[in-house]
């Protein structure tokens, strides 16, 4: 951090000012002039919170994608299908047993199994042929999409939120002051906050696992140089299978989360595949912190965009990607 400040003092200053403005916008009571110009503070705060929580969801999808890419150089374009598969499994489990938590566990295990099968049956046979693997994942995503359409139909499904998470919670953030002088606090859906907290915990756990454990050390070494790692006697195929299973399982969990937040239907697979593509392009391929930063930026841009410039929300996301590609083609937090 301090090295960044030393090397780019101007950028650091701009970043600090931007963070300060953002904090002021979130915590201060807006003066009437600003409310007239921009709109109600409640709307803004809701958009920010929606953006951050959506960013959490994007992070869950994109981190698996970026982990698999980083280690195996495999652009898994069937990642969206794994997301949707996890969502459908979660829906089936939660309607059958009524347990929300159980649906996460089963979705994780089943999508991880699919991931293991994919790695063992398909990708191991064509190791090192990036383009061909990508083609295969495109084919797989078409087949999966049609199989899921066959099995589940074109309806919308929504995973039932458990009772203990239904309802809003009052946050200590003032949205406005009533004429009587009484402050109005922001009310926000509990379930979204819980899910966001969970995705932060998963992200931190992943970071710790990657940087503090032996298996994490192996994975980081594999990202840097796969061949030398294999030559040192590490059973790299096993590591590949584990990482693919974990990345796929994360996509499955994200599917249940997405099914609770929004809804599940054919086409969501492509939407989330694209979201994770943009997130990892912005954040940097193969980097977990990059995925987190990219997810936050894209989530916020999408939600703020849909509130303030509704027609062109998607273009804002795209412009961010173009800007990153133009300035830093390897992504914001990529090392190379």
């Amino acid at each position: 951090m301090s090295r960044f400040v030393e090397r780019h003092p101007a950028w650091a200053l701009i970043a600090i000012i931007a963070v300060a403005v953002a904090l002021w916008l979130i915590f201060a009571v807006w003066p009437p002039g600003l409310e007239e110009a921009v709109g109600r503070k409640r709307v803004f705060l809701n958009a920010v919170f929606n953006g951050i929580t959506l960013g959490g969801l994007y992070f869950l999808v994109a981190s698996g994608f970026t982990l698999i890419f980083g280690l195996m150089r495999n652009v898994n374009l069937a990642h969206g299908s794994l997301y949707l598969f996890g969502g459908y499994v979660g829906y089936a489990i939660s309607t059958a047993t009524g347990s929300w938590v159980l649906s996460f566990i089963v979705a994780f295990i089943l999508t991880a199994l699919v991931g293991v099968l994919l790695q063992v049956i398909v990708f191991r046979r064509m190791e090192g042929q990036d383009l061909r693997q990508t083609m295969v994942t495109i084919g797989l995503s078409i087949v999966f999409a049609d199989l899921m359409l066959w099995a589940c139909g074109g309806d919308f499904y929504q995973v039932q939120t458990p009772n203990w998470l239904i309802g809003p919670v009052e946050l200590p953030l003032i949205t406005a002051i009533k004429s009587s002088g009484e402050p109005v606090y922001l009310r926000y859906p509990m379930v979204r906050l819980v899910i966001f907290a969970a995705s932060v915990i998963i992200g931190v756990a992943m970071w710790l696992a990657l940087n503090r454990t032996r298996i994490g050390m192996i994975i980081r070494a594999g990202v840097d140089d796969r061949d030398i790692l294999a030559a040192t006697g590490v059973r790299i195929q096993l590591v590949f299978v584990l990482v693919f299973a974990f990345g796929a399982g994360l996509a499955g969990i994200a599917g249940v989360v997405g099914g609770t937040f929004q809804s599940l239907s054919p086409g969501e697979d492509i939407r989330f595949l694209l979201a994770s593509l943009v997130v990892v392009i912005v954040g940097g391929m193969g980097s977990i912190p990059g995925a987190a930063l990219g997810a936050l930026i894209i989530g916020l841009a999408e939600q703020l965009g849909s509130v303030y410039i509704p027609t062109y929300a998607i273009v804002v996301t795209f412009l961010i990607m173009v800007l990153v590609l133009a300035i830093r083609p390897q992504g914001l937090l990529a090392r190379r």
């Binding site: 150089r73 652009v75 374009l77 064509m126 042929q129 990036d130 383009l131 061909r132 990508t134 083609m135 295969v136 495109i138 084919g139 797989l140 078409i142 087949v143 999409a145 049609d146 199989l147 066959w150 492509i270 694209l274 593509l277 943009v278 392009i281 391929m285 509704p310 027609t311 062109y312 929300a313 998607i314 273009v315 996301t317 795209f318 990607m321 173009v322 590609l325 133009a326 083609p329």
Partner: protein, 361 residues
């Protein structure tokens, strides 16, 4: 990178190409003449449905896939935005020309609207290409896919120019010299002429200095840069040419259906173009047309075929996906590669047996 590697083998007979550089390879090939004659007299053989729904559609889709084949086969850049460029050009024809949505269309005559659409779509594709060449290999796929998706969502949300998800309907088609060029037979010949033009242009470019330099860039960008070639300029120029081809196909597409909507530029459709090119084979310009014929035949008849087998007729995409997977698994050069391998095995049946399971190791 196996796709590019096999392309290298196909382009290997350099000594022959040098001697025969001035002639077209088709001239000495009787099969090419037969195909050309059949295509020319097609209106005598096929009725309106087959002529337009099968053969004109094949040629249009084949031209789009041809632009991808040019980029992927000669430039080593797999671009998923070729359909997006075609769709953009189709939209521009509808916006500048005459259509049922009078509040959007500017009502220009077709001979003004079409060059405008071609120019804008080529500029669009070149810009996208300039963005995509900043990265390599699989990154190109992702970036072009993201561009395609962004365009799809944009057309869905923009009502001022693209008319949202309803799109633009009843687009006017050209009518001059007393001929309605959208009537079945004239339209077939227009499509055939454009497709043939693009085919021979790609064929010619692949042997012109530019195309050879592009193939050099595909095989070893670093060495080409050391030789003094501007690698990125060659790549962007390739994108510009491919965009023009795709834009031509887009114009034909909008004249064919007389309407354009976001559904025609969806992500699935972008991927279809890749499937067509890969199934047909991306090392030679004829590949995309073969792939397009297979795709269109499947799209049209899979329903009847599946129902006759007692299966659910809606599983057309499953069939396409499985076929694509099989092709990618067993032949890196699509149907052409299978055909060539079969021909070789016919030629020397004994020597081939051990080499069968070699794959791509």
């Amino acid at each position: 990178m196996s796709l590019a590697q096999d392309a290298r083998v196909a382009a290997r007979p350099a000594t022959m190409a040098q001697r025969a550089a001035r002639t077209w390879p088709e001239i000495n090939n009787p099969a090419a003449w037969v195909v050309a004659v059949i295509l020319l007299i097609m209106p005598l053989i096929a009725n309106g449905f087959f002529l337009i729904e099968i053969f004109a559609s094949t040629l249009i889709l084949g031209t789009m896939a041809l632009s991808l084949m040019f980029l992927a086969g000669y430039g080593g850049m797999v671009s998923l935005m070729q359909l997006t460029i075609a769709g953009f050009s189709a939209y521009m024809v509808a916006v500048f020309g005459i259509s049922g949505n009078a509040n959007i269309s500017l009502g220009w005559p077709w001979w003004l609207a079409v060059p405008m659409a071609l120019a804008l779509a080529t500029a669009f594709g070149t810009l996208g290409g300039a963005l995509a060449v900043r990265t390599e290999g699989i990154y190109t796929i992702m970036i072009t896919l993201a561009i395609g998706a962004a365009f799809y969502y944009f057309t869905n949300q923009n009502w001022a120019i693209f008319n949202g998800h309803t799109g633009i309907n009843t687009v006017a088609t050209p009518h001059f010299w007393g001929v309605n060029w959208r009537a079945d037979i004239p339209f077939y010949y227009v499509v055939l002429a454009v497709a043939a033009l693009c085919y021979f242009a790609v064929e010619y470019l692949s042997r012109a200095p530019f195309g050879l330099a592009l193939q050099g860039v595909r095989d070893n960008p670093r060495r080409m840069a050391a030789l003094g070639f501007n690698v990125n300029a060659h790549r962007i120029a390739a994108y510009a040419f491919a965009s023009f081809v795709a834009a031509l196909a887009g114009v034909l597409q909008v004249w064919n259906y007389r309407q354009i909507s976001p559904g025609s530029v969806s992500v699935g459709a972008c991927i279809d173009v890749l499937i067509i090119a890969v199934v047909g084979g991306i090392t030679r310009p004829i590949g995309p047309f073969i792939g397009a014929l297979i795709f269109v035949l499947l799209r049209t008849f899979a329903l009847d075929f599946l129902v006759r087998l007692g299966l659910d007729g809606n599983r057309f995409r499953l069939l396409i996906g499985l076929g694509f997977l099989a092709i990618v698994f067993w032949s890196s050069d699509g149907v052409i590669g299978l055909w060539q391998r079969w021909r070789q095995s016919q030629r020397r049946p004994a020597a081939n047996q051990p080499g069968r399971g070699r794959g791509h190791g």
